[in-house]
Subunit: 332 residues, 2 copies
């Protein structure tokens, strides 16, 4: 379905605009830096469980859009919200969602200019965000070149660990006792993602050739870059940084830490390709934001080998996963 949206007929898309096959659409203007434009909906029961504290739903609706802006190397400019809710929705719950919007707007320094409200059978929070790229051209998914190194910010698997604890806690409800502080931090990784805005801009300045935010899962999202760039990648599994809190409680939340890190979605870290000689400068720049940049693989010519676009190696052997990542409605 998203594919159809990408190939939408109707008013022709001018050459100065790029459809949203990327993290955000790009609108070049005669005056001023290019604009970034993105939209994302969160549906109750699909994207969030209705019994999480409501402020997390509000927070996350803004944060996931900001992450799309981060993946282009941009800065959020303003956001609007469309809030669909049943008529009988509890007012305290609504207020808590607004608190979450406010927290995210403040944290992301993104003015929330208001929006639209409507009655509907189930909660749907849709955020549209406008951003700009004041210092560099937007970094697209399509720019990865053979010979580039594949890098990631931060650590992986934490959001999935948090989601699993949340699902189990719906039955038992004492995460601190069962999982200690690592468990609480994993919950936070799932409920309060931190878009890598500053890191994204620094990576853009350091010469990133392609970038994406990891929402579907690392292997799946690297696959999106390969598809748009017309390249393949080889990733060294043991190089992928694992969330330390996930490792601390691994025996309670996953059968396979590596699989969780490589295919679990919603870590909202950035995956980026860089010319090899740009890595050192990029890593130093990202480190200045308090998170690591780690080299995990290389970009290859599409014709250089057969098989999957993203080849994951462990001890020289290919690793295969049942699913490379979160499968969207009719594929995204």
């Amino acid at each position: 379905m998203a594919e159809r949206l990408r190939l939408m007929p109707g008013a022709e898309i001018p050459e100065t605009m790029l459809g949203i096959g990327d993290d955000a659409a790009v609108i070049e203007r005669r005056e001023g830096p290019p604009l970034l434009f993105t939209i994302d909906s969160m549906v109750e029961d699909v994207h969030f469980l209705p019994d999480i504290p409501a402020e997390y739903a509000g927070y996350k609706a803004l944060a996931i859009n900001a992450s799309d802006i981060a993946a282009m190397g941009g800065r959020p400019l303003a956001a609007l919200v469309s809030f669909v809710a049943p008529r009988q929705t509890d007012v305290e719950w609504l207020d808590a969602v607004y608190d979450g919007f406010a927290q995210a707007a403040s944290f992301l320094e993104t003015p929330l200019l208001g929006g639209d409200t409507a009655v509907g059978p189930r909660i749907v929070l849709t955020v549209a965000m406008l951003g700009s790229c004041p210092d560099t051209a937007p970094v697209l998914r399509s720019g990865a070149r053979p010979g580039d190194v594949v890098c990631v910010t931060g650590r992986f698997g934490g959001a999935t660990g948090g989601l699993r604890i949340l699902a189990m806690e719906r039955l038992i409800r004492k995460p601190e006792e069962d999982y200690g502080h690592p468990g609480l931090r994993l919950l936070d990784r799932h409920l309060k993602p931190q878009p890598r805005l500053e890191a994204g801009r620094r990576l853009a300045k350091a010469g990133a050739t392609a970038m994406i935010d990891v929402s579907d899962g690392l292997v799946a999202d690297l696959g999106h870059v390969c598809e748009r760039s017309g390249v393949k990648m080889t990733v060294e599994a043991m190089s992928v940084p694992i969330d330390v809190d996930l490792e601390a409680v691994a025996d309670k939340v996953t059968h396979n830490v590596l699989e969780t890190a490589l295919t679990g979605g919603e870590d909202f870290e950035l995956a980026v390709t860089l010319p090899p000689d740009a890595f050192k400068k990029a890593a130093a720049a990202v480190k200045g934001t308090g998170i690591p940049l780690t080299r995990i693989g290389v970009v290859e010519d599409a014709a250089s080998r057969e098989g999957d676009d993203v080849l994951v190696l462990q001890d020289g052997e290919p690793v295969r996963f049942a699913q490379p990542g979160w499968i969207h409605f009719e594929g995204k």
Copy 2:
């Protein structure tokens, strides 16, 4: 609820931005003309009946956003769609919605850059639209001044007439036989609203002091202008132009043509205030787009009289309506 969105805390709204208490939010930029930013959701069973031809739902989702841009005197720049639908939604239905998106994008000359798709229990179509005001400052709801004349584009009540025919036709299904060509045109007024983009820009250039698109109902929407401008208005009921097709089939679709015209929503005409000496030029400019501009009332000082913000007179007597317009979830 919309009131809360307007007063959203969080990141402070810079002085160069105007929250969406207006038809669209305004973002002033150092470089280039101001940007307009708006979002609107259409929910199945609330904003459209699931058995209308699906392309109308797609068309209307874009058109109602363009109408918000029109009411600021702007021009659409680009749009994004978020499409929430149940997993089992019929593919032909989805395709028809996309056809409607494409028709509207082409008609409105608005590139649809793509968007987001998600699974949900019921269809929700959310459109975010970006516009700009290349030639004038954005026309706000807050600029009406005592002494201004109150004017409207086009004719009123047609969309409500169409909605009533549609509701009745769910039982009988032969609109042409029952209502003739006027009935078909009323259906079109409901299903395919024509945002007054060109008229809006010409009114802005002609010196419009305040403007709004009539979505809630004429009296209700004039009330929004009064509230934001701190003024009152007196409207001469018999001056309000009635849809000729509504008049032609009036006995079949309404008990009170005047009430339908003054309080029925979704005509998506523009209501505008102008300094008296600007009316003639404005009317000539709007006539060039093929629709009339009609003077229907005057703007008054808020302290000049007691009572309702919008006073409707017929033969010198106040007219009262059970409801001034469409009542949104917790008020809009």
